[in-house]
């Protein structure tokens, strides 16, 4: 298994330093986004514990540098698609947290009116295309969206996320070949948090490092430290530009760590406490906070205030979700087929 102490030490073959050109406001917004995602997920965890949220529920805590770095590199007209660990990714893309929380509560005001729940968040207008529950399923689907972008001569691209657990699904290999042969403008991102449910990657995989499998398909690929927001932004910015400019796929491996169990029902016994503590030492939020203060972008106090605002915001969001109306029974059959 990849040691988490390696999280900061990867080979890079993408240009670094573009994050340094980001304006101060953007850096602060990125910090705020990470914090809000963290607080949102904590609130979600509590609401789940109280039985307000049902079904399967997967928290993103620990991986926020990836969602935020990715979203910062995309244009509004680009498409982002993912699996089921997506509350934070949807937020990064601009989906209102209230619409997400209402969805988790199964309410009519949710972003898909209560039809989807935690795993199936969609907001097409915001460029967030879900929200898919079968491991690997979103990958060829996203390539299809990229196909449509190219067919329609847009200059948009598609970015699709999947986990280290998904990389052995045949569908992904079929898709890599098609994306390469057809020259699709797509960024494939594997979030390698080292576990698929309770299974450590190395126990079931011969692919190491993951991103090198792209060699066979003549697809550009590299890895980066997904716990470092600036490195994350650099990696995504390069990949997005490349896909857009060349209408070619790129494959990124983001090394990262999830600090919670696979889902709310996973006690996470497959990791020792020590191991988890070691992973948490790489928490992207304090790391980025220190950077911002060190560079004089802001002060500790200002960052504290951001956090307090986020916490207060979540309280309100939970209250509103609680008060929101249940969906109308007519919804059951409303969207099975497109009405003529």
């Amino acid at each position: 298994m990849k040691q988490t102490s390696q999280l900061g030490a990867h080979a890079h073959n993408f240009p670094r330093g573009r994050a340094a050109e980001l304006p101060k406001e953007t850096l602060l917004k990125m910090y705020r986004d990470m914090v809000e995602q963290r607080r949102f997920e904590e609130a979600t965890g509590r609401a789940y514990g109280l039985g307000k949220i049902m079904g399967f529920c997967h928290l993103y805590i620990g991986q926020e540098a990836i969602s935020v770095g990715a979203a910062a590199a995309l244009r509004p007209s680009d498409v982002m698609m993912s699996a089921y660990r997506i509350h934070a990714q949807a937020m990064a893309r601009g989906v209102p947290p209230q619409a997400i929380m209402d969805e988790l509560f199964g309410k009519a005001t949710g972003c898909v009116q209560g039809l989807g729940g935690s795993m199936h968040i969609f907001d097409i207008a915001k460029g967030f295309w879900g929200g898919w529950g079968l491991v690997g399923q979103q990958v060829p689907t996203a390539a299809g969206v990229a196909f449509a972008q190219k067919y329609q001569s847009t200059s948009n691209i598609t970015m699709v996320f999947f986990g280290d657990g998904a990389v052995h699904q045949g569908a992904i290999h079929e898709t890599f070949n098609l994306a390469s042969v057809w020259g699709l403008p797509i960024v494939f991102v594997v979030e390698n948090n080292q576990y698929g449910m309770g299974t450590a990657l190395s126990r079931v995989s011969s692919l190491e490092p993951l991103h090198e499998m792209a060699d066979a398909y003549k697809i550009r690929h590299y890895e980066f430290n997904g716990m470092d927001l600036l490195e994350s932004y650099d990696a995504f910015a390069d990949a997005v530009d490349y896909a857009r400019e060349h209408s070619r796929p790129v494959y990124l491996e983001a090394h990262c760590s999830r600090f919670r169990g696979h889902s709310m029902s996973d006690p996470g016994k497959y990791r020792t406490k020590d191991q988890l503590e070691e992973e948490k030492a790489h928490d992207p939020i304090p790391g980025f906070a220190a950077f911002l203060v060190d560079c004089g972008v802001t002060t500790h106090e200002a960052l504290e205030a951001i956090d307090e605002t986020a916490k207060a915001g979540m309280k309100l969001i939970l209250e509103r979700a609680e008060a929101a109306p249940w969906p109308d029974p007519e919804l059951i059959s409303k969207y099975v087929l497109v009405s003529p």
Binding site: F122, I124, L134, A146, Y151, E174, N177, L337
Partner: protein, 326 residues
């Protein structure tokens, strides 16, 4: 009216719709340079170019799922699967993506694909290449399923399918591609969800579709005379949603029903039709609904055995006699 082969009627339908709508494209194994494994897309690469007539590698899950994604992205793919036996590999993209995308997004996305290709027993193709797996699709809410028996229905239904905003599964019997029939000139559309009486009769209703219906059309006059029973032939054409109104009207007239279908029998489409007839037409029935299916086994290769496994004249006539107590 022109006499057309079934495959050419399909070709016309696709070509006309591709002229009409630039979002429509054709994708599948061998559809472009090879003109289609069954020559359905003959000449279409030359006519529409590489952007819109696209050969794929053999990767049924991948290319079907990519096409499904492209429909979510605003295109209208016609996806040719060489046969539905191979499309088993694509089912996740159809069941878990295409059929559910509209509902899962509360209407934000829709998935206007047409999945089409060969089904049924093409002739000594043995266990893996002779299946009729329609029920894998008719079972799924969110899908529309069509199965024409004549060139005219093939053309008219395929054009409707391509225009439909929903995912449509279109079944072409492998043994029908070279069948000939009249096809109306000019714009010809057959509505989805409407069955067709292929022969009027008063004594017994036979419900069938696809190749089985074609064979029944050829035999019905002779059998009506031979059995002294006036056979009515009802072709649902659309397998999901079923035109129960038409079916029940026929049952009302005859009181006797035989369903003929080629697939494995256990919970195939005929079971659903029979269930609905007995539920909604209980008092109309003078005899239990009978069905004739393939014998419930993986298809043997030997032509000597295949002809015994498929529905055949002896078994169908016996079923007609049974429901008429003759």
């Amino acid at each position: 009216m022109a006499q057309l082969l079934f495959r050419d009627a399909l070709n016309q339908a696709m070509s006309e719709e591709m002229e009409r709508d630039s979002r429509v494209y054709l994708v599948g194994e061998e559809v472009a340079q090879y003109d289609g494994a069954y020559k359905v897309s003959q000449g279409m690469l030359a006519r529409f170019g590489e952007k819109r007539v696209i050969d794929t590698p053999i990767a049924e899950l991948g290319f079907v799922a990519v096409a499904v994604g492209s429909a979510l992205g605003g295109l209208r793919p016609i996806i040719e699967v060489m046969t539905y036996n191979f499309a088993i590999l694509s089912l996740d993209a159809i069941i878990n993506t295409a059929a559910k995308a509209h509902q899962m997004t509360a209407g934000q996305l829709s998935c206007p694909i047409v999945l089409r290709g060969a089904t049924g027993a093409g002739g000594a193709l043995a266990a893996q290449h002779s299946q009729s797996l329609e029920s894998q699709y008719t079972h799924i809410p969110g899908l529309i399923c069509l199965s024409p028996s004549t060139p005219a229905d093939a053309k008219g239904l395929l054009k409707s399918a391509i225009r439909d905003p929903n995912p449509v599964i279109f079944f072409e019997h492998e043994a029908l591609y070279s069948a000939k029939g009249e096809v109306p000139d000019g714009e010809h559309l057959v509505p989805i969800g409407k069955g067709d009486i292929k022969r009027e009769g008063s004594d017994v209703t036979i419900i069938a579709w696809s190749r089985q219906m074609k064979q029944l059309i050829e035999q019905a006059d002779a059998w009506s005379e031979e059995l002294g029973l006036d056979i009515e032939l009802v072709d649902p054409r659309t397998l999901r949603p079923l035109d129960m109104e038409l079916i029940l009207a026929s049952v009302k007239k005859t009181g006797r029903v035989v369903i003929v279908e080629e697939g494995f029998q256990f919970n195939h489409v005929g079971a659903e039709i029979a269930y609905r007839i007995q539920r909604d037409g209980f008092d109309l029935l003078d005899a239990p609904v009978e069905r004739v299916t393939s014998i419930d086994v993986p298809m043997p290769y030997s032509p000597a055995l295949e002809k015994l496994v498929l529905p055949n004249a002896d078994r169908i006539k016996a079923a007609i006699r049974a429901v008429c107590y003759k």
